[in-house]
Symmetry: C2
Subunit: 212 residues, 2 copies
């Protein structure tokens, strides 16, 4: 195995180890030694790749965002309607939040952003821009009403989703997250869905996020 | 000054000091020495009142909840309609989130709950119960439609508000919080407000949370 390949594998292992350590202990309580131990690596190896705990936290977030972009690109390539695309993005993130430590750590680092300086705005920005663009497409496709402001919609949806997953985590360890996301959309639809598309959109929601 | 009175004053000072230290450093990074220093008290005085950092964190949250109940009781006593009461509770909490370190610390400890074991569900429970009861009254008063499920409404509103204030904190240090709360309600109203009350409710929103 080439030296570069070995270095890449070590770096990935350190990022995985950092994610699970941040999830277990939180950002502030985690030390670089904790991360090196968890990865079965030396602190020297860690410092070869990352010069500080903040650098490795940012690498975890970058990896989370890379996975989000990858998942998003895959969903976009399905060429579904804008509303279906939004529902798929929400349920896909919910699934990854429940199963992937990198995603759990990335979202936790973002919601506990006060620990990082400057605060982590870029993950929110990315979601805001994505949903704003898709909501504009939903208007063009006639599923959203003409008077819907796509930016305002994204500006409410992204924080709302952030809170929904946080409270679901607090109460049920995200067991009920899909149901809570379904509930969120039942409250959002009346504000945005075109009257003549209401039945179709409800059917779509029932199909993609069944009531149980 | 009686000994009891002095003890109460010291206890309050320790809670204030803990709140500002938790806000500055986060829960995990804060030590009991940091809190004693901030309060200008000895660690002995701190341990006389609180046997652990977790105990003092819970005291901060209890004080935040006490202030929430006090503010809520004051707003309830105004005897306004259910919808007006909900809007007043939201804007009142927003004001206190911007001005009161105890409230900032209480909410931060609640949203970073993974650091505490068991997780902090009681602040959410209290808000959920309060808003569920008021939403039921909004249905009885005819401002909300008959088919609105008050519990489901509260189950979405409380997490949504949690996320809205968190993202507003991340982007603007809560400078834009009132506008974001207004935006939240413009998206919620179409899902719940009775058709014949839509104009009145919009007027109420414009009065209580002006667009600028």
């Amino acid at each position: 195995m080439a030296r570069q390949e070995r270095a890449r594998i070590t770096r990935d292992r350190l990022i995985d180890a950092a994610a699970s350590t941040f999830c277990r202990l939180g950002y502030v309580a985690t030390t670089t030694s904790d991360i090196a131990n968890e990865a079965g690596a030396t602190r020297g190896a860690l410092y070869f790749h990352f010069t500080s705990k903040e650098k490795i936290a940012r690498a975890v977030i970058e990896e989370e965002q890379r996975r989000a972009v990858e998942a998003g690109t895959h969903i976009m390539a399905l060429n579904r309607s804008a509303v279906e695309t939004m529902l798929l993005l929400c349920t896909d993130l919910a699934r990854r939040l429940r199963a992937d430590p990198i995603v759990q750590a990335g979202i936790r680092l973002a919601t506990e952003n006060a620990n990082l300086d400057p605060p982590l705005r870029s993950p929110y920005r990315q979601w805001l821009e994505t949903f704003s663009a898709i909501a504009a497409r939903a208007v063009r496709e006639g599923d959203f009403r003409d008077n819907v402001d796509p930016e305002a919609f994204a500006r409410f949806l992204i924080p709302a989703y952030t809170g929904v997953q946080l409270v679901s985590d607090t109460f049920t360890g995200r067991e009920d997250l899909m149901l809570r996301i379904r509930e969120m959309w039942t409250f959002l639809f009346p504000a945005v869905v075109a009257t003549d598309r209401a039945q179709d959109m409800q059917a779509l929601l029932d199909e993609l996020i069944p009531a149980e």
